[in-house]
Symmetry: C2
Subunit: 399 residues, 2 copies
C-alpha cells in the first residue's frame, strides 16, 4: 500500500481507477443503512480552514427544511479547526454515538454531527498512517479517495463540497482547489451521488472568531440572524445547493428566501438546540452563550496605524490560536476550548490607529504574550481600500 | 522502503543520491577484507543473457595473468542462466564457501567463483523482495544500486561491466543498456573504483550451447582454444579491460597477445582446473567433459528451408531451455544440469534444408516435444545474408 500510495502520488489515477479505489476503501468496513430515515440525505464536506464553523449552523438550517444531514466530522489538526472540538465545548455534547444512536438522532431531528467511527471505511485510517510516514499526504487523488470513501459510507443521496483555497487552506491556489473539487465530484458521480462544489476564499478567517467555544457563540449568533456576513453567505449558499440536490428547492431565489425565513423564525436555532439536546449537550450553554467564553485573560491586539485592512492572514491567526491552546500540533495534544480570537477585523474594513484588530482569549500569560507577538504578522493596513475579493470564487454543479 | 522504491522507480535518483543509497546498502553487512591478497582485485559483472558463460573462462584466464578475481555470482532465474548453476554441474563443486575459504582459494589460485553470502549487502535481498512485489524491479537506479552494493562489498580495486542488450537480455535496447552501464560506472567512480563497461549483443545466444553442463563443456573447449568465436571475443575483450584496470597491460595489442598465449599454453585451463579442485570439484569431469553431458534423449532441430540464418532468437531458445528443465520459472524450482541446447547455429551462417539448427538434450520425451515446438519460432532463415552485427556494440571507459 505504501508503494501504491507513492505511485499514485507521482502518476495520479484515471477517474475509473480512482472510483474503484474509493469504492474498495468505502467497502472496507460497514456502510450506514439510512433507509429508516425517509428524508433525502445530503451532507456537506469542507476541506477545512481557520474559523470554518459552517457545519454548525448549516446542518440544523438544512434539517429545518426537511432534508436529513447525517454528518460525520473530524477533529482539528495543525492550524485548521475541527467541528467535533467545537461541539465538545458545549458541556455534555457526545460526539461518539453508536450507529443506532446516530440514526435515532437523525430520525428525531433530521441532523446529527458525530465523529469518525472505526466501523466506516477503516482502510482510510490505515492508508493515511502509511501516507503520513511516506510523504504522500498531499496528493489530490489520495485526498479525494480518503474524503469520499468516508462520506459515501454515510449512505448519502448527495454531497456538497466546500473546497477552500488560500493562506489558511490546504490548497494554496484556486487551481488546486478546483482540481480537488472536480476530482471528488467525479468520484461521487461515478458512485451515483448528486454532487455540487463551491470554491471559497480562505485567505482570511471565516467569520470573526477562531477557537472552539468562541465559534459556538458565533454559530448561535448566526442562527439568531446576527452572525457575520461572510459566514452567513457561505452557509446560505451551501444550504441552497443541499436543498437543490435533495429536490427540495425550485430555484435559488426561493431557496434563499426559505432559508432566511428559517433563521428569522427561530426554526433553525431550535433545530440546533434539539440536536445538542439529543447528543446530551447542555441547552443552558446555548441559551446563554456568554457562559461558554470563560478564558481567564483577554487582551486586544491593536492597529499600529490607521487605514484600510488589506490582509488578515488566516495562517498566522491559526498559528496564534495553536499557541493559545485552541488547536493541536499533534493528534495527542489536548485543547483548551475557551481560548482563541474574537472580534477579528475583516479585509476592507477601515481602522484607526489603536483600534482593536482582534481580541485574544487565553488562560496563560506566556501564551497570551507569544500569540500577541505572532499576530503582529497577521494584519496589513494600507492607505487605500483593497480590491474586492470573491468569497465564493466558483460554483461547480452538474445542472 | 516500498514507497522509496516506487519513488525511485518514477523519479530516478541524482548520481549523488544513488551513490549514497549504494553505499548504505553495501554497509548493511560485512565487507570482504581482501588485504591478504596482494594482487590487484578486479571483477566482471554481466547483466545476464542466454548462453552467457563468460565468467567461467574469464576468471581463470585473467587470474593466470596475475590479477585476482574474487567473483560472487548468481543463480539463473527466468530465461537467463546462472554461473553458479553451471558450476554445480561439475560433481563436487562447492559454491557456498565461508569468507575464510573464499580468501584462501583466492590466495592460492587467484580466482574463486562463489554464491552470494548472507553477510554481504543483506539490505539488497530485503529491498529486492519488496521490489519484486511492488513492480519496481525494472528501474535502472535500483538495478544499479543492487548490483554495485554487492560487487563493491567484495573489496575490489576495479570492475568491468558486460551490459547486454537485446531479445535475451533484461535491457531490450542499446540505449537502455548504455544508461544502465553509465549509471553503474558513475556509482563505482564515486566510490573510488576503476570502471569500464562493454555494451554487447544478446539478441542471439552467446556461444553454441545453452544449459548447465553443456556450457561447462563449451568453457573447457574455449580454454583449450577451440571455443566459439563470439564467446572467445567477448572473453578476450573483457579480460583486456580487467588487465588494464589492474595496471597489468600496456596496451590492447600486448594484452590480447598475452591472453591468447595463456590459452595456447594451457595456463588458463590449468587455472580453471585449480579453481575447480580447490572448490572440491571433480577434475575427471573437466578432463573428460563428454562425461558431463548425460541427458537421456537427444534430437536435432532441423532447418525447414535453405538459406542464411537471419535470426536466432535468444529469448525463444531460453524459453525452450526452461521447458527442458535447464532453468527456473521460480526460485524454488530444481534444475536439471544435463539438459539444454548444443550446436546452435549462429546468425549469418548458411544452412541447407534439413540441416540441424540446434541439438536438444532432454530427460523427458514430453518436455523434448514441447521444447521442439517452441524452437520453431526461434530461427529465421532468409535468402540473403543478414547485415553484419556488432557483438561488442560500445566500450565505455575512462581513459
Amino acid at each position: 500500500m505504501s508503494a501504491l500510495a507513492m505511485a499514485i502520488f507521482f502518476r495520479g489515477m484515471s477517474p475509473e481507477e480512482l472510483a474503484v479505489l474509493t469504492d474498495a476503501m468505502m467497502r472496507s468496513g460497514a456502510q450506514l443503512d439510512t433507509a429508516s430515515v425517509p428524508a433525502p440525505k445530503i451532507d456537506k464536506h469542507s476541506t477545512g480552514g481557520i474559523g470554518d464553523k459552517v457545519s454548525l449552523p448549516l446542518a440544523p438550517l438544512v434539517a429545518s427544511c426537511g432534508v436529513a444531514v447525517p454528518m460525520i466530522s473530524g477533529r482539528g489538526l495543525g492550524i485548521t479547526g475541527g467541528t467535533l472540538d467545537k461541539l465538545e465545548s458545549i458541556p455534555g455534547y457526545r460526539t461518539q454515538l453508536s450507529t443506532g444512536e446516530f440514526l435515532d438522532v437523525l430520525q428525531k431531528c433530521g441532523c446529527s454531527i458525530i465523529g469518525q467511527t472505526a466501523e466506516l471505511a477503516p482502510a482510510d485510517k490505515k492508508l493515511y498512517a502509511l501516507r503520513d510516514v511516506t510523504g504522500t499526504v498531499p496528493s489530490i487523488p489520495l485526498i479525494s479517495a480518503s474524503i469520499m470513501s468516508k462520506k459515501l459510507a454515510e449512505g448519502l443521496d448527495g454531497l456538497v463540497l466546500d473546497v477552500k483555497w488560500g493562506k489558511g487552506a490546504f490548497m494554496k491556489t484556486r487551481k488546486q482547489a478546483r482540481e480537488l473539487a472536480q476530482t471528488m465530484m467525479e468520484i461521487g458521480r461515478r458512485m451515483g451521488k448528486r454532487m455540487a462544489a463551491l470554491i471559497t476564499d480562505m485567505n482570511q478567517p471565516l467569520g470573526r472568531t477562531v477557537g472552539n467555544a468562541l465559534e459556538i457563540v458565533e454559530t448561535v449568533e448566526t442562527l439568531q440572524g446576527r452572525g457575520p456576513k461572510d459566514l452567513l453567505k457561505i452557509t446560505l449558499e451551501l444550504a441552497w445547493h443541499m436543498l437543490r440536490l435533495a429536490g427540495r428547492a425550485a430555484d435559488r431565489k426561493a431557496a434563499l428566501k426559505l432559508l432566511r425565513q428559517q433563521i428569522r423564525s427561530g426554526a433553525a436555532l431550535e433545530k440546533f438546540r434539539e440536536m445538542v439536546r439529543l447528543h446530551g449537550g447542555s441547552l443552558d450553554a446555548i441559551d446563554n452563550v456568554s457562559s461558554l467564553s470563560t478564558a481567564r485573560l483577554r487582551a486586544e491586539h491593536k492597529a499600529a496605524r490607521s487605514g484600510y485592512v488589506a490582509e488578515v492572514d488566516a495562517e498566522v491567526l491559526g498559528k496564534a490560536c495553536i499557541v493559545l491552546g485552541a488547536g493541536r500540533r499533534q493528534v495527542t495534544d489536548r485543547i483548551d476550548h475557551a481560548v482563541g480570537l474574537s472580534a477579528i477585523i475583516k479585509v476592507g474594513e477601515k481602522v484607526e490607529s489603536g483600534q482593536p484588530l482582534a481580541v485574544l482569549h487565553a488562560n496563560d500569560q506566556t501564551r497570551l504574550d507569544e500569540a500577541g507577538a505572532i499576530l503582529k504578522d497577521g494584519f496589513a493596513i494600507a492607505d487605500e481600500p483593497p480590491a474586492p475579493r470573491r468569497l465564493i470564487a466558483e460554483t461547480i454543479s452538474e445542472d
